[in-house]
Amino acid sequence: MSVDKATSNQPQTGVRSPAPQPGDPLAIQVEDLRKTFRIPTHRVDSFKERLVRPFSAPDFRELKALDGVSFDVRKGEFFGIVGRNGSGKSTLLKILASIYRADAGTIRMAGRLAPFIELGVGFNVELTARENVVLNGVMMGLTPRETRRRLDAVIEFAELEEFAELKLKNYSSGMLVRLAFSVMLEADADVLLIDEVLAVGDAAFQQKCADAFHEMKERGKTIVLVTHEMSTVEAYCHRAMLIDGGKIRQLGDPAETGREYLKLNFERGVETGEATGGAEGARLLDCWLVDGAGERTTTVEQGEKIRLRAEVEVEREASGLGVGFVLANADGLGLFEFGTPVTAADGSATIPAGEKVLVEAELENPLAPGRHFVHCGVQSDRGGGVYLYVHNALDFVVFGSAQTKGIVTIEHEIEASVEPKGGEER
């Protein structure tokens, strides 16, 4: 398990390896998959209740989690699945991973599969790291002997040699995550199913994950990744699939799927009241980042300027309209707030209904590597007019190799020199 050092400092965009061609063998073939959950409105969970009401069939409502999903994944492909919460993507993953059984449809798969629905779920905290690694390996389908042979490599990769005999309950969460990730890499399965694991850990760990994924791609592993994070999809995936309401809404180019996903988010965002405050009167149509060439992007290199764009539609005439943004880091900590008043083309402060406002902002980027969010607010000067607030209107990743403990990099001068010898001790 040697991670090629040369790749580790490269920006993680554009590392997509050549996409498998249509002639390549299939790794996963899914045909017309259906799954309906019956959600009891009144749960009967004891014999007593059954006996008391023996003939009343329990009431339930049906929830179609997957409604005829078909797709193929080719061998060596990095396949992304995105979708909002409740879209059915986790159900799909769990069916692929043989945790749930589909009601109808077939799944065919080539080779051994290792599912990672969550890092370290198979761990027993009462056992030592060593025991857990063996157990997990066997769970992934290795023989106990194979697992024991790989044990040292796993512990070493996780940098936990000194703690191998320590029970997991005494581990820090960081150590746990390292161990889990290491186990996952070591499983050496042909098909990997990964759910949101990239979202865990600090920047250094994310970098390590990124390197590891890169290596897996090189080795021709088939990877299915389920995530919320469009930047990851665009950086790694050959193809991406957007699921909504149990159906495939978009399947193909990751950037295209990403845009569709954003659109979906905004449509729903306003509808479902993610925008707070009763009087909206405005709609955030889109919010995105562009790179130096004006192309859409979801990543920004450390130190490079952040170019933010947003499009707002005014639905109700508003005076003294202002658009503002809050830049927040992955912990939800607001870092910086900025905004601007909006004036109409004729210079008046009143914006008629139906106008679209394009906001362009350019910011210095002192942000540390990691995931960041932009919240967007639109407000008119007097109450009762327009008020819109969209939480997480945009998320993006600042990448770079300079590891820092802080959340920002501040321009600074610092110097250290050795004091001349012979001076009296003070």
Binding site: F47, Y100, A110, G122, G220
Partner: protein
Amino acid sequence: MTVVAPDAELREVHGPSALGGGWRRFFDLLWLISVTEFRRTYFGTVFGYLWSLVRPLMLFGVLLFVFTQVLKIGSELPYYPVLLLLGIVQFTFFQEATTNAVTSVVAQEGVVRKTQFPRLVIPFSTVLTALFNFGLNLVIVLVFVLAWGVDPTWTWLLFPFAMVVLLILTAAVSAILSVLYVRFRDVAIIWTVGAQMLFYATPILYPLGKEGLANPTIEKFLMLNPLAVIFEQVRVWVLEPNAPTAAEAAGGALHLLPALAIFIAICTFAVWIFNREAPRIAEDL
């Protein structure tokens, strides 16, 4: 260092099941989990194993006192104390395995809901862990057996056969209980009472035959209980060749058929219900 794995063929994925992912993986997992659990319980602490002995031995001590000194039931039988101990140790295995199995699948919720874990491993591992424990306890029993001057006979060789039957029964009951508990949470309470009743419905405290119970009608009824058949046969094979065999107690070999039928029914029901429920356990939790 580009390693390209040989192309594997597409194979249909059938979803979660009792065995899930092949026999070898099933047994590897079962063995590993049971051994780890056993080691954790008994080798982690110095007195771990001693503690596990204390419970059956205490029960043995109390019952021995009550039945030989107060009620004077077994005083006629020279081997009553050993018989009592053997019975208690065997029943402890059955009880420990099944009681732990009841909540096992629900307790392993995280594993069941998030990994492709062969479901049957979970209740079976509690059985196997209890079996290890049972093995250690049998060593103590052997010491008692020899100390009481029981003569080894060739029928001792039949003892493992009886234990295999006991193991199968225990595993089947464990599987049924663990999967029912997912749906019906009062199974745990019901089973506490059920196990207690079974204890008394099995000739452990009271030996059968004319020096013991001496009531053919009740003895016939007792022989409906597969556990009673096993225990009585073990008594004949290991301790007292002259004690009534299970067939004698039942009033003829044919009268053992109901017990056999019950045994087969339990095993069949276990296979059926576990296979039926296994794919859905993750959703029902």
